[in-house]
Symmetry: C2
Subunit: 251 residues, 2 copies
């Protein structure tokens, strides 16, 4: 009997987690969801996410797939998210569950992702936003930031903006479809869309663009940074708590 | 020597506080700010807020006034918020400090207030909004809610929507200038503006309007509720964590 395969859309507050994937030094959201599923379906398989998120990074729309033995699945699909959520801490929530084809893979089938980064640009950090923003107290040159952001759009080798990973990355070539900046009072929102993002890439782009806003680099220097293909040439890494995996795209 | 008088705009995450004013059973934001001020200005007077907020209610724009002995005030006005914030927990922040006339009074001079109430209307509560929303999982009739909200606008006796207080209230007549409802995906925002609000009034209006959205009452029943002038006739009290004191208005 083929198992039932589900696509889950998951949101989480990353504050208490070592990212999506379990680390030696902390709890991953993935294992929290797996533990919840195991309580309901003892024969459940591993849960596969669309990608990793770093320690402290949040998600509004992580996508994952999981297989449940058909004979153990005895509820309506509509009830599934609520049933899983009953076994989860309130920092993690399954927003949606749908059946998916046996060959669906949350990571390999993803055609793109949207991340959002939030900056609080005011001398004082609003206490209601303190867990979900990077506090940048000095005023920024917003149009310089917008100009810089546009230089990242397109297909580039993002090696200068890739964090060090213990293993070798195959390619650092990525396509950024969109890098929009919005301002609403003190709140700046960066919207990144791309076919994929390297380790810490969003945080490195956000950090670099903010440094440009503060006059530490010029918008024109982005091209040189990209061309250097050296992490030391890229700008700073923005803090994890400002980043949210917003959406994963599939065909 | 007349003291220096300041008008402070204060934001706070109400989660850990027994409201603005100190209670027998918990810490008030007022005393937290007073303690911070005392460390800087030993002769500081009491701090007077524009009004109270209940236990667990947040603020983006509480206004308060305070007097500091002139000889103890030895910094620029621009530095004052940052200096106070250095003595505050990150759940409370002075956003702005301005000099004000000796006769200014944060409560008596206030001409109106704006509160906002946030509802998460989806089967699953988003973990990133869990501290600042009332979770209403069942779908609501939004246009019925908008219709109901309009019935509250104007000058009415809001006795049916006033919480019980240990002391006698002088008058329960209040003018609501505005009660707008906005919807953005699962997030509903209620915007209340009025010359003043009775104890728990915003939460009682929010609770009633949500009950109307859920079909527990009709929009037409609002008039009867108001006319009854009896708390038992009004709808339910919405949870504190969804409410934010947004702004205080002065002439």
């Amino acid at each position: 009997m083929t198992p039932c395969k589900f696509k889950l859309v998951i949101a989480y507050d990353g504050a208490g987690y070592a990212g999506w994937q379990a680390q030696r030094d902390g709890l991953g959201v993935q294992e929290v969801v797996e533990e919840a599923l195991k309580k309901m379906f003892p024969g459940v398989g591993r849960i596969h996410g669309a990608g990793r998120t770093d320690t402290g990074v949040h998600a509004q729309g992580m996508v994952a797939h999981v297989e449940v033995p058909r004979e153990q699945f005895r509820m309506t699909l509509r009830k599934l998210p609520l049933a899983i959520n009953a076994h989860l801490p309130d920092t993690v929530r399954v927003l949606k569950a749908t059946r998916c084809p046996t060959k669906f893979h949350a990571r390999f089938d993803a055609t793109g992702k949207q991340y959002r980064y939030f900056v609080w640009n005011h001398t004082v950090l609003n206490p209601l936003w303190r867990h979900q923003c990077w506090h940048v107290p000095r005023p920024v040159n917003f149009s310089a930031m917008q100009q810089a952001a546009q230089c990242f759009v397109g297909t580039h080798d993002f090696k200068s903006f890739a964090g060090q990973r213990p293993y070798q990355m195959r390619s650092t070539l990525r396509t950024v479809y969109r890098f929009d900046l919005r301002r609403s009072g003190p709140l700046l929102t960066f919207i990144f869309e791309g076919d994929g993002f390297l380790y810490k890439m969003c945080r490195n782009l956000a950090g670099t663009v903010v440094q440009i806003g503060l006059g530490k680099h010029t918008p024109e220097s982005v091209r040189d940074m990209l061309q250097a293909k050296d992490r030391r040439a890229g700008g700073m890494t923005a803090p994890a708590k400002g980043l949210v995996l917003w959406k994963v795209y599939y065909r």
